[in-house]
Amino acid sequence: MPIQRSLKAIGSRTINAVWRMGYASRFLVLTLIYSGLSFRRFRLTVKEMFFSGVMSIIIIMVAGMFVGMVLGLQGYETLKRYGSESALGTLVALSLVRELGPVLAALLFASRAGSAMTAGIGLMKATEQISAMEMMAVNPIARLIAPRFWAGVFSMPLLASIFSVMGVFGGYVVGVVVIGVDEGSFWSQMQDAVDFQHDIMNGLIKSFVFGVAVTVIALFEGFDAPPTAEGVAGATTRTVVQSSLAILLLDFILTAFMFRGA
């Protein structure tokens, strides 16, 4: 019966997903255990920070700028109706620092750096470079995976901050320079409303958590990819999809915790 078959398929896929999650958690623990090398030879981590962090700066800055500009436009539209245009600074800054900065920067990071990590590791597996390293008695998790993990975790909050700053700047350009919202109230209301501990720190914590999630998913998919061309391609796609979903899910959970309101 077709219903039975589809139920079986769903069941086996769910079990497979759960099994992979367990495997991925063990992978994360191993990565943390073997992290010593990433710090003793920090040069390795620095090199990976270049490839995932520095190379993402341009897209982060441009995207941040545009998002800020759109926030400025849309925000002005809506606030005008309640006579609260002067609150535009608050709207732009809070949206970015609390939500859009961490989340969008993480999504962009997953698409750009995450998929690159997956493809790189997957390809190394397919061309037996990982087996070669193991046979040379060099732990591939310590030498390849852990530096990339820490590079992603360190880069993510920095990128989110850059995104938010560019966004605020974009909102300023559109709101104050183009539309003509009062510059003084733009900044003063913003400074009044954005609290360092409550908003900025929480945003940083979010981006840190996203960094861990995205990097672990990217590295795990690459490490676990079937050593064929289709295998690596599929793994890269899975990285982007799963990272995105993980980011949004974690965002909900963290927001619920942090910005509860009594």
């Binding site: 790189g120 190394m124 037996e128 470079q129 193991e134 046979m135 040379m136 008695a137 060099v138």
Partner: protein
């Protein structure tokens, strides 16, 4: 005259004591005893017995899927046998802990099929990799060692090239230099001649022999290439369907009467390994009634 006669008389004795029937376990670097291995329910290796002495080059031949690569993985400790054991330098491989396994792997060199060079590093960094990871040697000494290894394989000018810029034969030779970087005592070659032009093939074969003798190591080659192997190896094992069907020196193999060996060595189209994959009746597949 008498002195010459005694010398001449003793030489055959010396030669025969190097024969393989009388090799004691202290001379063998690798001992494989009654090794069985299965992937799930599929038996890959059934009761393999091999003795690999020090200083020799041994070839392992057989058709595709006969278990040659699995054997390599068992020697290297990447797989555990379901029965029997593999001893390298007196230690049972699958009983070693993590640390012990890594220790023994540092004395092994493996040349993977097609080289498996690290594509994100230069030739120099590839050869220097093991030295940097496992020793505290200063960079000046590493530099000299890398130059020596590259010189041994004849590629000293390529140090700053990236692997993607090398031809197949050159990449294979660089991988060979990397394999012998720490002067291993056991070197495993997985299809070292695959896809090489005749010149490179001959060069690699020659290098395998000369490096083995220079290092006093034991080399095991898994290969399909009959002419080149017969030229350079000391002993050959034939594996078919998980068991050793024949073994011997190149001369013994060349003159072997065993049908499988005969078919393999002479490249006959049909024999113990049939041409046709077992299928149904041809007439029935064509839809023609008898």
């Amino acid at each position: 005259m008498l002195w010459l006669g005694i010398a001449w008389f003793r030489m055959p004795l010396l030669k025969s004591s190097a024969g393989f029937g009388s090799v004691t376990s202290s001379q063998a670097l690798v001992e494989i005893r009654d090794v069985n291995f299965s992937y799930g329910s599929r038996a890959i290796l059934k009761g393999i017995n091999m003795t690999l002495p020090k200083g020799k080059v041994i070839a392992v031949m057989g058709g595709s899927g006969c278990g040659k690569t699995t054997l390599f993985r068992l020697i290297g400790g990447a797989l555990k046998p379901s029965k029997g054991y593999v001893k390298v330098d007196g230690q049972v491989i699958h009983e070693l802990d993590h640390k012990g396994l890594y220790e023994i792997r540092r004395k092994m060199g493996v040349l993977f099929q097609f080289g498996a060079l690290f594509t994100d590093m230069s030739v120099y960094d590839n050869v220097a990799f093991q030295m940097r990871e496992h020793t505290d040697l200063p960079e000046e000494i590493i530099h000299d060692l890398v130059m020596m290894k590259l010189h041994a394989v004849g590629l000293r000018g390529t140090q700053n090239l990236m692997p993607v810029e090398l031809s197949g034969g050159m990449a294979r030779r660089v991988a060979l230099a990397r394999t012998i970087a720490l002067d291993p005592m056991l070197i495993l070659y997985d299809e070292p001649f695959a896809g090489l032009d005749p010149i490179s093939l001959s060069v690699v074969g020659d290098l395998i022999r000369r490096l083995n003798d220079a290092l006093g190591a034991t080399s095991v080659i898994v290969t399909h290439d009959v002419p080149e192997s017969l030229k350079i190896v000391d002993y050959i094992y034939f594996i078919s369907e998980g068991v050793i069907v024949a073994e011997g020196t190149p001369d013994e193999i060349r003159n072997s009467e065993i049908p499988y060996v005969h078919q393999f060595i002479n490249g006959e189209k049909d024999g113990p390994v049939p041409f046709h994959y077992p299928g149904g009746d041809y007439k029935r597949d064509l839809g023609v009634s008898a």
